[in-house]
Subunit: 363 residues, 4 copies
């Protein structure tokens, strides 16, 4: 339901045009130093604004309500809240009774039998701010173990879409991405990516993008056999992000086109000689880099006339107003980082009791 | 851990070279007619044997131990068991202390600190027989609602690998696949697929494949907001199958290369005019066909010399013997069907209480 | 962890001397009328104040943050917050480094390795305000089915402690309890109960109490076999309330002293002829009244000198100041109602998919 | 549902008159020495037979099917099976269509809409053999940490029923109980207990009993705040055992009759000076002995004429035949031990990640 994770659990609430959004991060071990500045910075990365994102204005100031005492996590749940500021619900009056194509309006209506027509309500990508907050708090835990998680834009529309990640993975510049306005993983492609986005925007349209996420220094052994494998959890986490339609691990879609003799990663004393597995064997981390690729569809909110029906079943035309991201993958990349952080930490907590030797170190 | 599902739960046990494998299907509603013949037939589809699968001989006879009375499910857990017959553990003596490339040997060893070297133990694809059994029992429930789940082979190696599923989905012949020895979705490509598999086999190698799974007549409204979305559950279910490295829904990887005006599915009185969404909007089923594509890596067990290390860290050469599938995707396609069945039914049970109107029909 | 329930889930956060307490109620079906006045009234029942409770001043004003639109639940999570107003942390300076007898200071310190010494932090009974809020929201759902849950004080100290509930259950006056300052179930005993509480209070001591909770009109069939039985869930819910040390169902402790011929409830056309079972057979509701009795220990906070040790292990004397309930069972009875409401509703949601006939009414 | 535990999970199947009963113990850490003799011995304790139990003949031979390799747990699920031998279903022909008073027939029928009339089916106490097996496997893990769990009979009918456990706890002789045919905790009362049971048996009746369970050497810090407290888990585990109607921790029901100055356990350098808390403070273990008392109602199966109705609602008389325990608490005491073992181990696994210091010992 609205809880993500097993031992480290993020439970969230909030609609895009409601009073506030927020969450409860439960299970963060006691003793973690809480860095409020880092937390706000991470939120700022995902924050609306700029040429390449929606113009909606939200300061996204977060307030921690519990679970931290004297700068340290206490082991009790961390409640936090982000008040909504810029809820222009009236933008939605015109679409109040119709189903916006590509949106969850249709399915929510039939699932719940009631409708919160204000900008998607709970299904809005605005909720992802809470995920980013949960991920940032989790990163403070991961920092204690030297584990990093980073993401960036790999392709926009057709630009770089067909490049083989197996070949490209060493060329990706995550440092550059951090400071790129669109989190581009390639200095050389940043401008082309931007142009593609603006081209879509100027045509009142939107464009898809793919995102690569890299986890470094995850310990060996993470992932629960047999139905909570690390890669299964990653797949659920990523596919559950708004607009993601495909998730690949390591060689991903290319693996189905290759031979075993190409795809197997051989090993010598220094470690693995390649990483087609994307850091995961049998669903469990091998201590190699975990490589994940997510495909974001184009933002469904576009400013063109779209045929649809209303809640009575009558045909009509959807004409959106308001403010929307021309390429949801850009800000979505910040969310992939957050989700990967939550998965790694949850799997670390779960794995801590995998064998007797570990437990004898604890008890 | 070893339980899949929330309200309909499959919990499984068993190693490939142990006494038996089996499971417990818990939460199947009372009143479902249990068809033992269908159950065994589904297992037979996945059973080893033939030119395109491992030569290991297992009759895979299943015995139901509980939860069924007078041919009807009672609502209590259905226990079942499949005894292993053909455990040639001695095939594994030579690889007892080394890590087979592409296998879970390495990660299981470091996770648990102990090693069951007999053919992968728990991580063997043999376990998937239990998933198929669970899925078959679940289909008997889905039959009550006219819901079908089917899978087949979409590509083998490079053959048909780059074909666009959006264009191809109406050409897929699931009826043909049922009777195809390799579950080919294309009559015209079956021979080429077979040749590709035999080419790999004859080269002591293996080859990857992609699989398409189609769910028809799933009710609208399945999927729990916000972290148990239908597509997130499907992604976890599929990525958790041995050898799957990528999962796509609807337009999948193509969605990241398209524009919103192309990708949105417009609606008229008769319904949706296209299905780029693959039957899922906002993570919830829309009553359109659910279209899923899974990419299977080539079987990691190949019969070529592979550099690796042993459990002491010393370099060595892995030379496998034994019996293995040249293309694990073929039998894997039966497992994708099973997992999709489990997800659909579980989501139906979960969704039954989504709104007051539904509950008033029950109480 | 900090989540209660399976399909209807209350996740909470907050420390007694932190910024705020609050929670997220997830899984409440869409379509429930939300009555804000009832919600605040329920909180007011548990609110500190008066001669028989702590003098701490908290207005306990609740704010709903999400999940409700136009007065109706939307099926998405209901976030809510209660800001703390009267955090006299300085009362705790003197006990900062010692373990208060009967409190969780000792166990939290050793569990988490850090200490929030301000009044028990998370372990304070203040958190129960959030349970009461969750329970009140849940009652709005139960109202749709005519289900009521009520509680009151059955005994205080030795007064009425040994009375046999089997004999007394028809004499309990839940209407009277509603308006009694101490929720007394007996008009005739109210004064004696009050005197017992004040006697303890004036002696700087505290006193225990027992509470009876009655669930009326719960549907038949609630409770999941075999480890989520209705009575097991009730037992966990009640034993998890601060200060509860025993939970009885129906004849409870008396059942172990009786013969089968006395204890079995016979049945005729009109229904059961007695209710030793307390409305539960085989862990599942029978549609009879569910009768629960909880035993609250005396408030551990007393104002007498108590030998203890500090966090360095040195012996010292604990002398509490501050404001505490002389009989925690009184306000605790409001919490038992809340927990029972959460259990009933959760079990209704879970049970909705127990058999095929129910599901065919939904799909 | 049919799974008990969070990180250490016992999932079970089986009906009393079906083919077999069994289960899957998932989450037992790798590296635990598996003692098959101990396992069978524990089952033998609960096994039917003798003057004080049912005459049903079951050898209760258990077979482990997975999860153990070379005498050591591998970290993968341990499947096990116990075939039923002595299913005299025909004993139940006469009660096929009526509801036996005190049994789950009524509630199962209305929950599931179908009926397995053979001796209670899933609701039979026979299922508890599986719990005992799970508990015994778990004890092998607890042995690594010197943790013991023991149970015995505290009272039978009115004999010793009103004795105050606070006074008696040091007089209980768990060593004696081990070898007592009825697991009596008092050498001096054993004979009286036996007579009470035989008196009931000879009158074709049954009698209740109370059981005390003692956990020694549980580590400090077990129990998850706030809704998976150790005592809440114990309460659920125990109340979920067939026939248990009340659960007490430490002073239990007496705590509601006492003053804070009596009930608080003071502390000095050597530890706690008393144990009214029963080893649990704030829901978390304090490393004192955990003391639990369970009240078992008399076996509902008696051989007297009992008024009841049949599934059509017509009045009739229930006259049971067959073989039943005259005092279900006797064999039930073996089950309380098993459940306590499962709770302690599960809580140890969960607690392993409670703070950063513990995790740094693991990673």
């Amino acid at each position: 339901m609205n809880t993500f994770g097993t031992k480290l659990r993020l439970t969230t609430f909030g609609e895009t045009h409601g009073v506030a959004i927020g969450g409860i991060l439960d299970g963060l071990p006691a003793g973690v130093k809480i860095n409020l500045e880092f937390l706000q910075n991470e939120l700022d990365k995902r924050k609306p604004g700029g040429k390449f994102a929606t113009a909606r204005k939200e300061s996204d100031k977060i307030e921690l309500l519990s679970g931290v005492f004297e700068g340290i996590s206490t082991g009790t749940p961390i409640g936090f809240i982000i008040y909504n500021e810029n809820q222009k619900s009236k933008d939605y009056e015109s679409v109040k009774n119709l189903f916006r194509p590509g949106h969850a309006d249709f399915t929510y209506f039939y699932k719940f039998g009631v409708r919160d027509y204000r900008g998607g309500g709970r299904s809005s990508a605005r909720e992802s701010a809470v995920r980013v907050a949960g991920g940032a708090l989790t990163q403070m835990f991961l920092d204690e173990f030297g584990i990093s998680v980073e993401s960036g834009i790999y392709s926009v529309g057709k630009i770089n879409h067909s490049a083989n990640l197996d070949d490209e993975v060493l060329n990706l510049d995550f440092e550059f991405a951090k400071n790129s306005e669109i989190f581009s993983l390639y200095p050389a492609l940043e401008e082309a990516f931007k142009e593609e986005i603006l081209k879509a925007k100027n045509a009142h349209d939107s464009v898809g993008a793919s995102v690569v996420t890299l986890i470094k220094n995850a310990p060996v052994g993470l992932g629960e056999v047999l139905y909570d494998k690390f890669d299964a959890r990653i797949a659920a986490a990523m596919m559950g992000i708004n607009a993601v339609k495909a998730v690949e691990i390591g060689s991903g879609t290319n693996s189905s086109a290759s031979f075993g003799s190409q795809n197997n990663d051989f090993i010598n004393k220094s470690g693995f000689l390649s990483n087609h597995a994307g850091g995961i064997l049998g669903g469990i981390t091998s201590a190699q880099d975990v490589v994940i690729k997510c495909h974001f569809k184009p933002t469904p909110s576009i400013f063109l006339k779209e045929p649809t029906i209303d809640i009575s079943g009558d045909e009509t035309i959807c004409e959106l107003r308001g403010r929307h991201d021309p390429c949801v993958g850009v800000r979505g990349s910040v969310v992939t980082t957050a989700m990967a952080r939550l998965v790694v930490a949850d799997m670390m907590l779960l794995n801590a009791s995998s064998n007797l030797a570990n437990l004898k170190r604890v008890y």
